[in-house]
Structure formats: C-alpha cells, structure tokens
C-alpha cells in the first residue's frame, strides 16, 4: 500500500504543523499573483501512520545490517556506527555551508587532515575532496586531463582509452568531458592487451582510464609498462578507485604511475550505501595536474588557521562541482574512519579483504563452481562463471543470483564485466567472518545441487520475498512513474 492510499482528507501529523503569524489570506496583495491555486496533494496522514508505513517498508529491504552482501565491485562492508555518530554531532550537522572561516575551524581541521591521509594512502601529490560520487570524481579527473592538454596547447588529444572490461561510467565520463572513447581488449588472463594498447596509443591519446585491481578481479601486472607506454605517447593515466579497498596499504596508485585518481569514500571509508547514495569521490593528482584541481580545497595559513582555497588561489582550476563543498558530512565520516583505523588498520583492510576473497574463491571451486581466471590470485574480489550451468541446465547467473536471495544472501554482481559469460562478481570484504563466508559456500553448494535436481526451482526464484520476479518489460513499456489516483475522501 502506498502512503497516498493511507491518506484521508483532514488528517495530519498535528505536531508538525507550525504556528503561523498570520493566515495566508492576510498576505500583502502584491503576493496574490504568485500564489498556488491547488494543493500539491501530499499525503494527509498521522505521525504513527508515517512511522509504521516506513518501518514496514524498510523491512522489505535486504541490508548489510541483516544480510551478507558479496556484491562485487561495490565493497559492501560494515561501516562503523562511530564514524556516523562523529559526523552527525550537532556542531557539524547544524553548520551552514557558508559560515565564516572563523566559525568553521573545527570542520576545516578535519578536512585538512583528511586531505593529508588520502594523499598518504594513494601516493598522490594533492587531493580535492569536493566531488560528490565516484562518477563525479571521474568527471573531475578527466576534465583535469583535458585542461592539462589544453593549457599546453595540445589540442589534438581527443581520445580517451578504456579497457573493454571497464565500468560503464568510464566511457560515459569521457564523453561528458568531450572526448571520444576507444576500447582496448583484455587478454584471457584478464590483463590489458599491451600489444593492442601500443597499436592505438599516440598523438591523439589524451589518457587511459584504468582500474587496478581490474574489473576482472585481478591485479594488472603490466601496470608499469602500461604507464610508460601511455606517458611516452604524451597521454596521462587515470586511476578509477573503485577497487581501492583491495590494495589499501599494499600498493599506491601514485607509485604505479597514475597521474590522477578518484576514490569512492562510500565504499572504502565508512559511508553506508543508503539504498543508492550518497557517495563521495575525492580526487588526487600528481604534480603536473595540481593547478587544475576542482575547488574548494582546504589550506592552512602560517599562523595555523585553516582556510578555503578557491578560484583565487587556483586560477587554472576546472572549477566548482557542487553548490557548496561536495558531500561534506561524508568527508567527516571518512575522517573519523581513518582516525579509528589508523595506518595499521588501513593496511589490514587490504590484507583481510584479500584473504577473504581468496578463501571464498577456493571454497567455491571445491563445491564445483568455475572461476573465470583460475590461474590468477583473487584480489578483494573474483569472478565465477556459470557458462557450464547455463549450457547444460539452462540456468543463468541471474537465476542463481535470485535463488541466493531465498537463502538470505544478497546476490553478487551479475553480468559484469560484460565480456565474461554468465558471470558472478563476488566480493566478500574484510568485515565478514569465516563463518559467514562458509555459510555462503553452503548456500551455493545447495543451489548447485538444485540446478541438477530441480532447475525450475532455481529458474523461478525467488520464492520467499515480498514479490516474485517483476515484469521489467511492462515497467518500461507502460511507464507508471508517479501515482495518479485521487486521494480517498473520508
């Protein structure tokens, strides 16, 4: 039932009706021409109805607080409540974004220090915290690449290279920044095809966008040679930080030769996904891209006061990317998380994420599943391919994903990367215990049996959730995007 269907004319949450100085009729006549004629028809419900309605809705969701979420490339780990509590302290949550610097020293101190921590973890020269999500960080990074070439008068560089296994945001971002995209093939082992790269790189190359570990769940071993190839051709190297969790404290993008990167603070640094956002996507740069960083950033004066650095300080900046300072409160969570873990804790993140992934990969092969890259180490994630099951039993990766929901596990990422048939991209993260992972293996083993014994049960899953499979075709053909029925009258 929708909240609108609970609505009854004349009902309201009385405590939320503020007292007013005067009635609407008493407004100055000059306002009359501007007034709304018909109400918007928002729901008319009591406070308890609201509380009960949304509590009941929440119960229809899977969530990390309730389920294991081995969603590859998404890093669905536990996000400490302490980090949230720190970011939500009254002084922070009531701070207006345009408050004067003198009344913002506590907040600015956190951002200034966070810039330093992220520089340290990534091996970059400078960091701007303002991008509001990974995709906006990508946008900032590629826009900086564009600004760099333009500043040098190098106008021929119109192409961005992207491995074909890349996340869809990479090409979409390159196009948003006015570039043409060229895709580079990937070898059977999941590495970039170096010969193919060498064949296309040249004076038209603005840059190469890469994830490492790659979207194939393996570490790109030829990264030094790739960096050299692109740099020699005059291009820059972009690091998509989607998989940073895998290598925290183990290897730094700056040391691998990357010129610019974004980080997904919502994956790696303590922000829960919130059912689709918010995220936060700070960018880091090497020396030569420093003048182009998006504003604002935070600096520290010689007398120890923190201050905003703006267009005045960075005249070549690519500019502002948000109305104020990005997803400011997410930055505070990331700061709090970094303080809770410290340097040693950060190194443990990469270590245990990798331990869990390799353990899970091995266990799954023991119960009969095939890895897409069996000869490689898993990083923080790995790919299972169900090509065999699809061929012999007509059971797809989507079917297995849906059946897992019945076993109380959120489905892994399906059909990504696109080039691996019937794939599941699985990322257990470091915060899950051995017992939880063993439970997942058990569920997968039982599904493997079902595929042989009663494949229809798998094909028609899920069976235990609030709805069965939804008609996506109807959703797209008969668009119903907003409730239209009249409010039920009392």
């Amino acid at each position: 039932m929708l909240i609108f269907e609970r609505s009854r004319e004349g009902r309201s949450a009385g405590a939320q009706q503020v007292e007013t100085r005067s009635a609407i009729e008493a407004l100055a006549p000059e306002m009359e021409a501007f007034l709304r004629a018909e109400p918007a028809k928002l729901p008319e419900v009591s406070e308890l109805e609201v509380v009960r309605h949304y509590t009941n809705l929440s119960a229809k969701n899977f969530a990390i607080d309730r389920q294991f979420y081995p969603l590859g490339s998404c890093t669905m780990k536990y996000n400490p409540r302490g980090a949230a509590a720190a970011a939500n302290l009254a002084g922070f949550s009531n701070r207006h974004p345009l408050a004067p610097e003198a009344q913002s020293q506590g907040y600015l101190a956190c951002l200034y220090e966070l810039q330093g921590y992220l520089r340290d973890l990534t091996g970059m020269k400078a960091v701007s915290l303002t991008p509001m999500a990974g995709a906006q960080g990508e946008f900032a990074g590629v826009a900086m690449i564009r600004a760099y070439h333009q500043k040098r008068g190098d106008h021929e560089r119109v192409e961005i290279l992207v491995p074909e296994a890349a996340h869809g945001t990479n090409p979409a971002t390159a196009v948003m920044c006015g570039f043409v995209v060229r895709e580079i093939p990937v070898t059977e082992d999941g590495d970039v095809d170096l010969a193919a790269l060498k064949a296309v790189v040249g004076p038209r190359t603005a840059g190469l966008m890469m994830t490492n570990p790659s979207t194939c769940g393996v570490f790109e071993r030829q990264i030094a040679e790739i960096a050299e190839t692109v740099h020699e051709a005059g291009g820059l190297l972009y690091y998509d930080g989607a998989n940073l969790n895998a290598i925290l404290g183990k290897v730094r993008p700056g040391d691998m030769g990357f010129d610019v990167l974004h980080m997904n603070l919502h994956k790696t640094f303590a922000t829960p996904h919130g059912g689709g956002g918010p995220g936060s996507g700070p960018v880091g740069v090497s020396e030569r891209l420093l003048p182009f960083l998006p504003t604002p950033t935070v600096g520290k004066s010689s007398t120890g006061e923190y201050r905003w650095l703006t267009e005045k300080d960075l005249p070549d900046t690519i500019g502002r990317l948000s109305g104020f300072m990005g997803n400011a409160a997410i930055l505070l969570r990331a700061y709090a998380y970094a303080r809770l873990l410290g340097g040693a804790g950060m190194e443990r993140v990469g270590a245990f994420a990798t331990l869990n992934a390799n353990y899970l990969a091995k266990r799954l092969t023991e119960v009969g599943f095939d890895l897409a890259f069996p000869n490689r180490r898993a990083t923080h994630e790995f790919i299972v391919t169900l090509a065999k099951q699809a061929k012999h039993h007509q059971v797809t990766a989507m079917d297995v994903a849906k059946r897992l929901l019945d076993y109380g596990v959120h489905a892994p990422t399906t059909y990504f990367p696109l080039l691996i048939p019937e794939c599941l991209l699985i990322e257990p993260t470091e915060t899950e215990s051995k017992a939880e992972i063993d439970g997942f293996v058990e569920a997968m083993a039982r599904i493997a049996e079902e595929i042989g014994a009663e494949p229809d049960r798998v094909r028609s899953a899920p069976h235990t959730l609030p709805v069965t499979r939804l008609d996506d075709v109807k959703a797209a053909r008969d668009l119903d995007l907003a409730w239209t029925d009249e409010v039920v009258s009392a």
Binding site: H167, G276, G323, R339, D471
Partner: protein, 456 residues
C-alpha cells in the same frame, strides 16, 4: 582488530585452504618495486571513545547560536521521526535497488518520492534524484539540448539572478560538451529579469528561470515561459521546494508550463551539514523522460500479478549505454530521498504551507524591523519569498565578522559570491526564527553597523 572479525585460528585455517603460508603471499602478483612503503601521515588508530572526544571538541568550535544564512541551504525544523526512520539499518545499509525483489522498501519509497516531487512542482514525472541542486541544473541543461528537437542549439540562456554558485557549477560541467551559457540581464531596481529585450532567446535550446531568484525575489515567470515557448526554447525552472507549497508551481507557468524542473531538496528534512549530502530533484514532461538522466522507478507487476516496483528505463544509463548514456551519474541520493519522503509525508500540504508562510512572514517582519535602522533598506523592490537583500551603510563582511563573534551569523555578504555589491547582505528567515530571534538580529545589526562605522 577494529572491524575485522578473524581469530588467529581462523586465519590459519583459511590460509591452509588457499594453500599459502601468509596473507602477504596473496600479494605476490604485485611487482615488488611497486609495493608501498609505510604510511607516514596517518596517525595511530584510536578508540571510538577517543574519537568522540576529539570530534565533540571540534564540533563545539563551530557552533553558533543563530543563523540567518540561506543562499541555497536553509535551516528548517526537522521532525524527530525523519532521521529516526531514515537511519534504520534497512534503509541506511541497503545497496542500490538493482535486485528488485530484495529492495521493495527502497523502490516503493522512491516511487512515492517521485510522485510527491512531481505533485509539488506540477510536473508529470520526476527521477530518483541526482547529487544536488546545482548539478541537477547542469544535468537539466545537457538534457534540454538533447530534448529540444526544434533546433540544434547548444546555447542556454540563464536568468541573471541565478545563484552564482549554480552558474559556476554549470560552467564547470557543461562547457566540456560545447554548451554556451548566456546571461539575461536583470533590472537593477527589482532584481528580476528585465523583459524588455528577450532576443537572446532566439536560437536558444533553453531558458533557465530561478524561482525564487538568488535575491529571494519572484520573476515574471508566465511572461518568460511564454516568450521562451514562442522562441522555440525549453524552459528549465530552478525552484525551492518549500516555496512550492505557497507559490504557483512551474507546471502552471504561462500557457504551457515549464519543460524541466530542478531544485535543491535540502529544505525537505535534510540538515545543513556544511553543504551535503543533499539531493537534487529533477522533473520533466513525460515526453522528455528518456532524455532525463538518473535512476527512475516504475510500478509494474510480479509473476503472480501483484504490484511491485523496479528500476526502469535503464537503457539510458551508463551501465548499459556506456559512452552514449544520458549522463555518467550512477548515484541517487538514496538516503536523503528517504528523509525527504518521510518529511513530506509528515508535513503534508498544510504543514509545508505553514512552513512556507511562516518563513515568508518572518522575512517580512525582519525586513520591516531592520529597515528602521538608519541606512538599512531592502536593495530590491518587489515581493520576496523568504530571503531578502539588505543594503547596509557599511561593509557587509565587516558587519558579519562583528555579529559572528556574538554568536549570530546574520547572512551572506554578496561580494563573497563574486557580485560587486560590498554593502549588501543576503538574509534568510525560516519558520525556526521567532520574533525574539528577529529582534536580536536587529539589535545586533544596529550595534555592529555602529561599531564598524566608528572604526572607519
């Protein structure tokens, strides 16, 4: 180990299964020359208690007693139930609802949000939100260029009284795709768009109208909408959602209404929090829905014929369309949408109208009181919603510095926004400000003006 559950015995057992002696051995594919050295800037980890002590101290440093700043972010009362519910783990720690069967809570909630936003703005359809108001406008500009089939123009005409930050953000984003932004001049006495010469609309893909405008004023939206329509330009409205409870929504502007509407959703139950996370809402005519970026939820049926909700029109999005997607965005501000939906449910039409009315009349009261100070008067003529530019007899920045020391942030000096109006202060009043607060503002302003004037 913080947040890592493994015992020594478990680690040993897991390594044995994998067949390696140490965790370190799992990193043997990384070339040794690239391996990171020690982290030097990160301090040692601390306990949650120590963290809270440190952060509480910093948070207290930034507390003020009264804040009259607006300029795109507004202090409204947030009902207790809003974040009590939004912070439930089932909302907070859920992923993007790609697995529809396991995400009906989030999906239905977004469908309700889309409905509420469409109704508030008087438009046909809304998306599941984008980052914030400023980026929503940038996306709307790119969308308008795609959607306007009557010309192939890449020119966007922007009302000269748009929030300068929004304009800056749009420049950063859309100029990379070759869009040109042209400003419509404003009338210097009213602060609203001058309708004398609208020839800029010829050959434009769209006109951007801010309502209320950055100075709090109300532009002649009907005339502007009709003029744009006549010129073949789409109309993009940038609106304050609270104001929509009181003011005529963009769907009803002029003869045919606006084509695309965006705005900042922060006033709907989202704390100021230094500027984010907020949410940008986005709506349009149904005919343009395939050009709209961002997630969209549709109502459909499951295999047994009962209604359910799912992401739809995904072929527009980057994960399918890659380089040809409508945008690279792959976020909606899910948690903030949750808060805004609950906020709108709790307030209803009447509650939101009261908030808007009380904010509007409070602003009026402040303007009247402040105008009794010598040399203080509204900079522009004409009605405002809940924000007003006051011109002062001294530097606005100097006044702010004095009042801030006494715990009152009186508003935004407009020269901070790059406008050469050094004596102008943009002041906002919401329902949270009592008559006593307004009196304190006025007393403080008078004293600060005197102090600054005598120091000169």
């Amino acid at each position: 180990m913080p947040f890592i559950p493994h015992t020594e015995a478990e680690q040993t057992a897991m390594l044995e299964v994998i067949g390696v002696p140490t965790i370190e051995a799992l990193f043997d594919e990384i070339p040794p020359a690239l391996r990171a050295g020690a982290l030097t800037e990160l301090p040692e980890g601390i306990s949650e208690m120590a963290l809270m002590q440190l952060m509480s101290k910093r948070a207290r440093q930034d507390e003020v007693e009264l804040c009259f700043l607006g300029a795109g972010a507004y202090e409204h009362h947030i009902p207790a139930a809003v974040w009590d519910l939004a912070n439930r783990g089932e909302f907070l720690t859920a992923y993007t609802p790609y697995q529809a069967e396991a995400s009906q809570g989030t999906l239905q909630l977004i469908y309700e949000f889309q409905t509420m936003i469409a109704r508030l703005t008087g438009m046909e359809v809304a998306n599941a939100s984008v980052y914030d108001g400023a980026t929503a406008l940038a996306e709307a500009m790119l969308m308008a260029v795609r959607a306007n089939k009557s010309n192939k123009s890449k020119k966007i005409v922007v009302a000269g009284n748009l929030n300068p930050r929004y304009l800056a953000v749009c420049r950063s984003i859309v100029t990379n795709q070759g869009l040109e932004l042209e400003s419509l001049p404003i009338d210097s006495s009213s602060g609203t768009v001058s309708t004398d010469d609208l020839s800029a609309l010829t050959d434009a893909a769209a006109l951007v109208i801010s309502y209320p405008n950055f100075f709090g004023g109300l532009d002649p939206v009907d005339g502007l909408t009709d003029a744009a329509a006549a010129a073949g330009a789409l109309v993009i409205g940038v609106v304050n959602p609270t104001a929509m409870a009181l003011l005529r929504p963009p769907g009803c502007w002029g003869e045919r209404g606006a084509d695309i509407v965006v705005g900042e959703g922060q006033p709907l139950g989202i704390p100021l929090a230094s500027g984010g996370p907020y949410l940008g809402f986005m709506c349009c005519r149904k005919a343009y829905v395939r050009q709209m970026p961002g997630r969209i939820i549709g109502r459909t049926l499951d295999q047994t014929g009962q209604p359910g909700y799912a992401l739809t029109l995904q072929a527009r999005e980057q994960h399918i369309r890659r380089g040809k997607a409508t945008s690279n965005i792959c976020t909606n501000q899910g948690l903030l949408v949750t808060a805004a939906t609950i906020y709108l449910s709790l307030l209803g039409d009447e509650g939101l109208k009261r908030v808007a009315l009380q904010s509007h009349t409070g602003m009026k009261e402040l303007t009247t009181k402040a105008s009794s100070i010598e040399g203080v008067k509204p900079r522009f003529t004409g009605p405002v919603f809940h924000e007003q530019v006051l011109s002062l007899p001294v530097s606005a920045a100097a006044v702010v510095a004095v009042m801030a020391r006494q715990g009152v942030l009186p508003g935004l000096p407009l020269d901070e926004m790059g406008l050469s109006m050094p004596d102008c202060l943009l002041v906002n009043v919401t329902e949270t400000k009592t008559s006593e607060d307004i009196a304190r503002f006025t007393r403080g302003l008078a004293a600060a003006i005197e102090e600054v004037a005598s120091a000169c």
